[in-house]
């Protein structure tokens, strides 16, 4: 039968849509109203010290729109005007300096796309399959194009002539919010690729991501990407702050804990199909897609398994992997309607292969909390619905 949406004149084809000034700054259409950040309430005591999750199951490409990019605050997203913004550099420098926001805009700046992943991403899955959705298991991540000034430029402006041997030095960075979220970064990284950023995806940072200025620490755990950054101190050693001792350290089975586990290892996840993105179209052509990333370099290959890791096919990368940035992969396939145990396995340009949960547990035990980069399994049933499972 003929489709009335084609044979009958529809209202949108007859009258007018909105004029150009109907919305001065747009939100997504209401028909995409379920593509939103979500919180897992039982995880934390209070939303001002909490985290939510990017709806990665519903996005494609690699750039995360700021409006749905996950948030993590330790004492809430503060409102800080550019006019009230100050950045201090002090400690073992030739001249301690204070920059205004306007000062920062006068330094030569760079653009880079980087992912920011919370060290706790997938952390709830250590002891077993727990949360039913890629958003919840892998959504503590976003990927943006940052505009900013290399931290090296600002440190050199303050002068490192009197600092001494740079290789043993550290910088301590802290934010303007009440938590301050202080972290220590070795000088080698500080002088390498760390950015003091004020734009993301072409526009000002959002309040929840550190407006007006945040730190970008490529490939390293998100907690170090200090938001509303107000002070950078060159020091002889690390401060060993709360966030780098009591948190973001990884306790092994024997009770000892790893510290300074900054780099986020190679990882991937199938974003669709997945529990929140079931197959609704029945058998035939099926696009299996997902994201891969590595904090130690660029993604070179992603393999996909439909049978829980018994056999693998190499997926197609949407474009060659870029260092410390999300890479989109596709496996264009034909689905016969049979049950699948979908997995993806990332490799980066160091030759590292994403491990299984069993392999990780053998080294670290079950109490690691952070830095879980295990291979994820979705059980896709013949009706197209998917569930988070663990397999032997």
């Amino acid at each position: 039968t003929a489709d009335p949406l084609i044979t009958e004149i529809q209202p949108w084809a007859q009258g007018f849509g909105d004029g150009v000034d109907a919305v001065r700054y747009g939100l997504p259409t209401e028909h995409e109203g379920d593509v939103i950040r979500r919180n897992v309430e039982w995880l934390t005591a209070d939303t001002v010290s909490s985290i939510n999750f990017t709806p990665i199951h519903a996005l494609d490409g690699t750039i995360t729109p700021q409006g749905c990019a996950f948030e993590r605050h330790h004492s809430g997203a503060i409102d800080l005007k550019k006019d009230d913004y100050r950045l201090m550099i002090n400690g073992l420098v030739d001249t301690p300096l204070v920059f205004s926001y306007a000062d920062l805009e006068r330094f030569p700046r760079e653009n880079h796309v980087y992912f920011c992943e919370c060290a706790a991403n997938t952390g709830m899955e250590w002891a077993g399959a727990q949360l039913n959705g890629a958003q919840f298991t892998h959504g503590m991540i976003h990927n943006m194009e940052y505009t900013g000034v290399p931290l090296r430029t600002l440190l050199e402006e303050a002068g490192l002539d009197t600092t001494g041997d740079l290789s043993g030095k550290w910088v301590f960075v802290e934010g303007a919010d009440a938590s301050s979220n202080g972290r220590s970064i070795p000088m080698e990284k500080a002088l390498d690729d760390v950015l003091v950023a004020f734009k993301a995806n072409g526009e000002a940072l959002r309040k929840e991501h550190g407006y007006p200025v945040r730190l970008v620490v490529p490939g390293w755990e998100g907690n170090m990407w200090v938001k509303w950054i107000r002070r950078i101190e060159v020091m002889d050693g690390p401060v060993e702050s709360r966030e780098e001792t009591s948190k973001y350290t990884d306790t092994l089975e024997d009770g000892t804990s790893r510290k300074w586990t900054w780099e986020m290892d190679a990882k991937s996840v199938v974003t669709s199909p997945s529990p929140q993105a079931p197959i609704k179209h029945g058998t035939g052509p099926l696009v299996i897609t997902g994201l891969a990333w590595s904090g130690r370099g660029a993604i070179t290959r992603v393999d996909v398994s439909k049978d829980g890791g018994k056999n693998w096919e190499t997926a197609r990368l949407a474009k060659p992997g870029e260092k410390m940035a999300l890479t989109r992969f596709y496996l264009d396939t034909d689905w016969d309607g049979s049950e699948m145990m979908l997995q993806s396995r990332a490799m980066d340009d160091t030759g590292y292969v994403q491990p299984t949960k069993t392999q990780l547990r053998e080294v670290r035990g079950l109490n690691s909390i952070y830095h879980n980069n295990c291979i994820q399994t979705w059980l896709v049933r013949s009706n197209g619905e998917a569930e988070n499972v663990e397999v032997s």
């Binding site: 020091m235 890791g309 145990m341």
Partner: protein, 318 residues
């Protein structure tokens, strides 16, 4: 510098912001305090989240206990059982606590609170005076419990190279399912959420006692003690505690969507109204007034503080 941008930071500016304390004690201010003094301050400023004995309430951090649990399932990581450096405790409390009123503690109070946390962990006696002089007399049990990231040796070497592609294992079975646990949140989208009907509210033309602005302003300061758990006014939301807008002379247990303790629900069913007198009695010693209340706050001893906070709350409607 090369660009000549920025200006020199003044010593008093650096002093105002540079408060970090290193493991070797650099940055530790002169001062002292003991656990007995700390206990009172802790009850007043910390216990509403961390519990009277630093044992933690709900999802708020537990600061005491957990000795020798680090190699067990679900280890309890506290200042006593896990933190390698005592300087970290001072550094964090001084800069970031109390929650919602960060940076407000004088150095002696920080020493006293740190002493109380140590005492709660059985790491010092109650007559031990913690100061910048005695700071390193305290031994942290897990001081040697950390190793520097060794993934390169323990993991990268074995997880590098060409991976298996065909017949990599014999049998694959599902060993655990997320649905069994069912802890995934509801996922209603913004578009699907019910939009509350807006109805015009008739404003009562009842004369309201004029607000004493000065007293209310004093109350706003006292309210800092409550802010970690309570919000009031436009845009207020239920947090650990219920919204307090309209609480004065309002019915007890009446805030939508807040799960009250059983005793409070019972009192509400009995018709409790939060008159100024009832509120003052509750605020003076919550746990004595209402045994079993969820509100873990030691109380406002000063009547002037009680009156001020009630006036402040009254300014948001009564």
């Amino acid at each position: 510098g090369k660009f000549g941008l920025g200006r020199t930071a003044l010593p008093e500016e650096i002093a105002a912001w540079d408060g970090d304390i290193s493991p070797n004690g650099t940055g530790l201010p002169v001062g002292s305090g003991d656990a007995l003094v700390g206990e009172e301050i802790f009850a007043d400023k910390c216990a509403s989240c961390h519990g009277d004995f630093a044992e933690g309430i709900g999802n708020w951090p537990k600061l005491a206990g957990g000795a020798d649990t680090l190699n067990h399932d679900d280890p309890l990581k506290t200042v006593g059982s896990y933190w390698p450096y005592l300087t970290t405790t001072f550094d964090y409390i001084k800069r970031s606590m109390p929650y919602g009123d960060a940076g407000s503690l004088p150095d002696d109070e920080v020493y006293a609170i740190v002493a109380y946390i140590l005492y709660s962990n059985d790491l010092i006696e109650d007559d031990f005076v913690l100061s910048n002089e005695t700071f390193f007399d305290v031994e942290m049990p897990n001081a040697n419990g950390f190793i520097v990231d060794n993934r390169a040796e323990t993991e990268y070497v074995q997880w590098t190279g060409e991976p298996c592609m065909q017949d990599c294992k014999d049998v694959v079975e599902v060993t655990m399912r997320a649905l069994v646990l069912d802890v995934t949140p509801d996922q209603a989208g913004a578009a699907e959420e019910e939009v509350a009907e807006t109805t015009e509210v008739e404003v009562d033309e009842v004369a309201i006692d004029a607000i004493d602005a000065e007293l209310a302003a004093a109350g706003a300061k006292v309210f800092k003690k409550c802010k970690a758990c309570h919000q009031v006014g436009d845009g207020a939301k239920n947090r650990t505690g219920p919204i307090l807008t309209g609480i004065v002379n309002g019915a007890a247990g009446a805030v939508d969507g807040f799960r009250y303790s059983k005793p409070l629900t019972k009192a509400a069913e009995g018709g409790l109204i939060w008159t100024e007198a009832e509120l003052a009695a509750f605020l003076a010693k919550p746990k004595a007034y209402l045994k079993g209340t969820k509100m873990s706050f030691s109380g406002l001893k000063k009547e002037t503080d009680q009156a001020a906070i009630i006036e402040y709350l009254r300014s948001f409607g009564s």
